[in-house]
């Protein structure tokens, strides 16, 4: 039961972080499994010096970075379909198009900026946890976030002018 609670609570976040970084469902699953394998080995010696969520994101991010070093850049696969059930069809379509558009722009960001944005804007980590997971200072995290958002705003603005 304890293991189920741990997996149910943290696995989806770990998987989404890996998926956004790697752009491949299967690879994201491999990274998530490896992260939890390490967790099972590490837990008996766990010390309450870090949150599990931060530790798991750190491991997953490092595993993703290792994988990205070993392969050439790939295009993000199409995001899985998930219907916006409560929206009228025209709004659902608009939301889907907006989501696809922003995802494509985020994929074009430098890796560290993408990591920062994924952890803070999409997974809701606080600045200290996100910085710890990325193994950077809070100031560096803020700088990455600012640059990411600036780049995205600029790209969106250029897109509107075309």
């Amino acid at each position: 039961m304890a293991q189920s609670a741990l997996v149910n609570r943290h696995m989806p976040v770990v998987w989404r972080v890996a998926f956004r970084m790697l752009g491949d469902r299967q690879e994201a699953e491999d990274v998530t499994q490896e992260t939890f394998l390490r967790a099972w080995k590490m837990l008996p010696d766990w010390e309450a010096r870090a949150k599990f969520s931060t530790w798991a994101c750190t491991v997953a991010i490092n595993l993703c970075r290792d994988r990205m070093k070993k392969k050439a850049p790939v295009l993000m696969e199409t995001l899985p379909e998930r219907e916006a059930a409560d929206l009228p069809p025209d709004q659902a379509l608009h939301q889907k198009q907006a989501g696809t558009r922003i995802q494509a722009l985020i994929d074009g960001l430098p890796e560290r900026q993408k990591e920062a944005l994924t952890l803070c804007a999409f997974e809701g980590l606080g600045n200290k946890d996100a910085a710890a997971a990325m193994q950077v200072s809070v100031e560096a995290l803020e700088s990455l976030l600012s640059r990411a958002r600036r780049t995205l705003r600029q790209a969106l603005s250029e897109g509107q002018q075309e």
Binding site: P80, R82, C120
Partner: protein
């Protein structure tokens, strides 16, 4: 510890990095930044509008979800709970009693004794606290940041 004073420049930096919603801002700066924003709203209108436009696109992003079987595969690799270790113990006892298969009636008395002992052991084990209170599982809840299972459940219910 929270900062009680801030500047225009810092509030603009927060909006630039974390977006228009103050809930996304660092906790220790939020209160001061919100107060500063409320006192001088006109100074931040343009920055907030630009940040909101981007935030709304983030909100439109459909969060992908992992496959339905991933949790099962991960749990299959988890350390076995105490009850399964007892089953392993039973199997080991069985192998000790009948290393080459059944040996009736020579091993029957010993086997009965063994089964009696095991039944007594498991009966007493069933009267122990639930499995989540085992030492190993408490470690997991500790890793989750809770003192014990009850604290975890309380927070989960508050989240819902």
């Amino acid at each position: 510890m929270s900062r009680m004073d801030t500047t225009d420049e810092r509030v603009l930096e927060l909006i630039e990095a974390y977006g228009a919603s103050s809930m996304s801002w660092p906790e220790d700066e939020r209160e001061a930044a919100e107060a500063h924003l409320a006192a001088h709203p006109a100074r931040f209108e343009a920055a907030l509008a630009a940040a909101r436009a981007l935030d709304s696109l983030f909100d439109a992003d459909m969060a992908p979800e992992p496959g339905p079987l991933l949790a099962e595969r991960i749990l299959a690799s988890a350390p076995r709970p105490a009850s399964q270790r007892h089953s392993g113990l039973a199997a080991r006892i069985g192998r000790v009693l009948t290393p080459n298969g059944r040996r009736w009636p020579a091993g029957a008395a010993l086997a009965s004794l063994g089964m009696g002992l095991f039944a007594g052991y498991t009966a007493s084990a069933s009267s122990l606290p639930p499995a989540y209170e085992t030492e190993a599982e408490n470690v997991v809840y500790g890793a989750l940041g809770y003192d014990q299972f009850d604290t975890y459940l309380e927070e989960e219910m508050l989240d819902e």
